[in-house]
C-alpha cells in the first residue's frame, strides 16, 4: 500500500471522458512519473489530486485519509505540495518573503492572525527558510524581488517553497516545460539531489522522456484517460503497448 492510492477515478466533462477508471498507487519514497500523450488526462488527474477538481466517482486516499471534497489548501496541509508548469510564486514579494510564507503555513495552518508579532522575530522560520535557500543555491538572492529573477531561478524558488514545507508528496507538473537545455539539466540535478538527500516521494508529470527516465523509479502510462501500464522505466521503454500508444506517436 503506497502513500497515495487512486482507485477507480472517473471524470467527465460534458461528453468527454477525461478520466476513466484510473487506478494509481504511489509508493512511499519513490519517484513516480505519469506520462502519456496530449489529452491523456494527466493534468486532470493532477487537479483531482490537489482538490481543484472533484471526480465523478472513485477514491483518492493519501496516507490513509481521503482527499476528495477537500479544498486545495487543506490538501496541502495534509502534506501534498505542487509545482506548476509555469512557476507560481509571489512575484511582488522578496525571495525571503516567498520562502517565509510556506514556513508560516506549515507552522500556523491555513489561517492565523499573527498580526502583531514582528516577522523579524520569527528567528526559527527565518533560519529554516535561509537553510532551504542555501540548499537550492539562492541564498545570495534572498532580498531580490521575485519578479526580477530569471525563469530558472523562479522555478528553483518555487521548488524551495514547496520543499521547505517538508511535504510527504511533491507533485511536479512538467517542471522543465519551456526550459532551455542547460536549465533542464540543472533542474534534473536539483530534483535528483532532493530525492537523494531528502527522500521525498514525488509524482511527476512530464513530456520530456529524458527527464522521466533519469528520475522516475516507476512510470504509469496514461492514454485517453485510462492507465495502460505501470512498471519500471526499463520495462516501460520496451513495452509494445506503450510504444504504440505513446512513444511511437511522439517519435522519440
Amino acid at each position: 500500500m503506497g502513500i497515495l492510492t487512486v482507485k477507480g477515478v472517473n471524470k467527465r466533462f460534458g461528453g468527454l471522458q477525461a478520466l476513466g477508471d484510473v487506478n494509481l498507487d504511489v509508493a512511499e519514497n519513490t519517484c513516480h512519473a505519469i506520462i502519456g500523450p496530449n489529452g491523456a488526462g494527466k493534468s486532470t488527474l493532477l487537479n483531482v489530486l490537489v482538490g481543484k477538481l472533484i471526480p465523478d466517482s472513485g477514491s483518492v486516499v493519501f496516507d490513509g485519509q481521503s482527499v476528495l471534497g477537500r479544498q486545495p489548501h487543506e490538501i496541502n496541509q495534509m502534506g501534498i505540495s505542487r509545482v506548476f508548469q509555469t512557476p507560481e510564486i509571489f512575484a511582488d514579494l522578496t525571495v525571503m518573503e516567498n520562502m517565509l510564507i510556506p514556513c508560516f503555513a506549515k507552522r500556523d495552518g491555513a489561517f492565523r492572525m499573527h498580526a502583531i508579532q514582528s516577522t523579524r522575530h520569527e528567528g526559527d522560520m527565518i533560519e529554516k527558510a535561509e537553510s532551504m535557500l542555501d540548499e537550492v543555491g539562492m541564498l545570495d538572492k534572498r532580498d531580490m524581488t521575485a519578479s526580477s529573477m530569471s525563469r530558472g531561478d523562479k522555478r528553483r524558488l518555487e521548488m524551495a517553497m514547496c520543499l521547505v514545507q517538508d511535504p510527504r508528496l511533491l507533485l511536479l507538473d512538467e517542471p522543465t516545460a519551456g526550459m532551455a537545455r542547460a536549465d533542464t539539466e540543472n533542474t534534473i540535478e536539483l530534483l535528483k539531489t532532493i530525492r537523494r538527500e531528502r527522500g521525498i516521494t514525488m509524482a511527476i508529470i512530464e513530456h520530456d522522456m529524458n527527464v522521466v527516465f533519469s528520475l522516475a523509479e516507476r512510470i504509469t502510462v496514461l492514454a485517453q484517460g485510462t492507465p495502460l501500464v505501470e512498471d519500471t522505466p526499463d520495462n516501460i521503454k520496451g513495452h509494445p503497448k506503450v510504444r504504440e500508444a505513446y512513444l511511437g506517436e511522439a517519435q522519440v
Partner: protein, 411 residues
C-alpha cells in the same frame, strides 16, 4: 521615508541574526521607530506646526492649527490608514468604506444618547458595530474580486446611505441626522439641569482647550484633539506592526498570487476578510471619534463621494506606504477647509500692495481657484500629482529626499 513597501525582513547580511535587530523601540526596527517618532512629533506639536503665521497677518488664513481641523486631520488619517491596510496590502479596492465610518458614528451617538456621554464606550461601540457590519458586508462581497468586489461594496454603501436618509429616519434622524439633545437622558451621568450633554472623558469635555500666546502667535491645545491624536498614534503603530508582521506578508501575498497561497496551504479569503474587518474597525474608530469630537451624525457621511474621498486620500498619499494615507488625508482636508474659506475680500488684502489695476487683475486671476472654486483647484492638483508623482505624495517626498542626499554627497 524610503521604500516602505518592501522592508527587508532581516538585516542585509545573512550572518547578522535577526534576533539581534537593534536600535528600535516598541519592537520596531530603527527605521520604523524613526517614522513612529516623526508621526508622534507631528501629532503632539501640530498646534505649533500648523499655526506658522502670526494672528492677524495676511498669511494667517493658511493657519490650520485650530481644534476642528486638527481633529479632522487625525480622524481622516485613521480612516485612510485603515483603508490602506485593505487596499494597499491586499489590493482589494473597497468603494463603500464610508458606510462603515457612518455606521460607527451612528453607534457612537446612540451610545452617548442612551448610555453615557463618556466617549470611551461610544468609541468602543463604534468599533464593534462597524466591525460587525464590515464582517457581514465583507463575507458577501469577498465572494467576488476585482471591480466586481468594488461594485458590491459600493452597492452596500449606497443602500445604507439611501435608507439612512429616508426610511430609516426613526433610527438615523434622516437628513437632519442625530445630535445630543437636552431631552436625552443617558443611563450614567447625563446633565440634570436640562442643558445639552457634552461628550467627555471622565468629566473632561472634548471642547476643553488650553491656549498659549507667544508674541502675536496663538496656539490652541485641545483635549479632544489630543485624544484623537493618541488614537491616531495607536492606529499608526498597529498599522506598522501589521505591515511588518507575518500577517502583513500574507496580505501582500493575497495581492500577489492567490493561487499559490491556496497551494501553500493558506486561505486567501480569510486573510482578506480579516483585513477588510480590520480596516472596517479603523473606519468605525474614525466614525466614533468624529462623534466624540463633534456630537452629530448625518447620512451624507456615507455617500459614495465620501467613500471615494478615502480612496483618493490613500492613492494621492501613496497606497501601500505607511505615511501616504496620513499625508493624503491631510492634503485633502486642508484644501477643503482652508482654500474654500478664502474670499474676494481676502484676495484684495493680499494683493493690496500692488497698484490698483494690477491688484484687480491678480484678484480676478486667482479668484476662480479659491472659495467656491476650491473644487477646481482640487481637481487640478489630483491630476498633477497622478501625472507627475505616480507613487503619490510619498514618492514626491522620496524624490526630494534623494535630491538632498545627492546634493550632500556631491557637495
Amino acid at each position: 521615508m524610503t521604500d516602505q513597501t518592501n522592508p527587508s525582513v532581516t538585516t542585509a547580511t545573512p550572518t547578522a541574526r535577526p534576533r539581534a535587530a537593534s536600535g528600535g523601540m516598541l519592537g520596531l526596527t530603527k527605521k520604523d521607530s524613526t517614522l513612529m517618532l516623526i508621526v508622534f512629533a507631528l501629532v503632539m506639536l501640530a498646534p505649533f506646526i500648523l499655526n506658522p503665521f502670526p494672528e492677524g497677518s495676511a498669511m494667517a488664513q493658511f493657519n490650520a492649527g485650530y481644534p476642528d481641523l486638527m481633529q479632522r486631520f487625525v480622524i481622516f488619517g485613521i480612516f485612510a490608514i485603515g483603508f490602506n491596510i485593505l487596499f494597499g496590502l491586499t489590493g482589494y479596492l473597497s468603494f463603500g468604506h464610508a458606510a462603515f465610518l457612518g455606521v460607527g458614528s451612528y453607534a457612537a451617538i446612540w451610545s452617548m444618547k442612551l448610555v453615557t456621554l463618556n466617549v470611551i464606550p461610544g468609541i468602543v461601540m463604534a468599533i464593534v458595530i462597524a466591525g460587525a457590519f464590515t464582517l457581514v458586508v465583507g463575507f458577501i462581497s469577498l465572494r467576488r474580486s476585482g471591480i466586481y468586489f468594488s461594485i458590491l461594496t459600493l452597492a452596500f454603501a449606497q443602500m445604507s446611505y439611501a435608507l439612512a436618509y429616508s426610511v430609516l429616519t426613526p433610527i438615523t434622524g434622516g437628513e437632519t441626522g442625530l445630535q445630543i439633545k437636552n431631552t436625552d437622558s443617558p443611563l450614567f451621568g447625563g446633565p440634570t439641569d436640562g442643558s445639552i450633554g457634552r461628550a467627555n472623558l471622565f468629566g473632561a469635555e472634548m471642547g476643553n482647550s488650553y491656549e498659549l500666546a507667544v508674541g502675536s502667535w496663538l496656539f490652541t491645545f485641545n483635549l479632544g484633539y489630543y485624544i484623537a491624536g493618541v488614537a491616531l498614534l495607536v492606529a499608526f503603530y498597529l498599522s506598522i506592526r501589521i505591515f511588518r508582521s507575518p500577517f502583513g506578508i500574507m496580505l501582500r501575498a493575497v495581492k500577489s498570487n492567490q493561487q499559490r497561497m491556496n497551494y501553500t496551504g493558506l486561505t486567501p479569503k480569510r486573510y482578506t476578510l480579516s483585513a477588510f474587518v480590520i480596516s472596517g474597525m479603523y473606519a468605525g474608530l474614525a466614525g466614533g471619534l468624529m462623534v466624540a469630537m463633534d456630537t452629530q451624525v448625518g447620512p451624507e457621511r456615507m455617500f459614495w463621494t465620501a467613500s471615494g474621498e478615502v480612496v483618493i486620500m490613500t492613492i494621492l498619499g501613496g497606497a501601500g506606504t505607511l505615511m501616504g494615507p496620513i499625508l493624503g488625508a491631510g492634503f485633502i482636508k486642508y484644501m477643503e477647509n482652508i482654500v474654500s474659506k478664502i474670499n474676494k475680500d481676502i484676495l484684495h488684502e493680499w494683493f493690496a500692495f500692488l497698484p490698483d489695476g494690477a491688484e484687480d487683475v491678480m484678484v480676478s486671476i486667482v479668484y476662480p481657484f479659491i472659495g467656491k472654486g476650491w473644487h477646481l483647484t482640487l481637481g487640478i492638483l489630483f491630476m498633477l500629482v497622478v501625472i507627475f508623482l505616480p507613487g503619490g505624495l510619498v514618492e514626491g517626498g522620496q524624490r526630494i529626499a534623494n535630491k538632498f542626499r545627492r546634493n550632500k554627497t556631491d557637495g
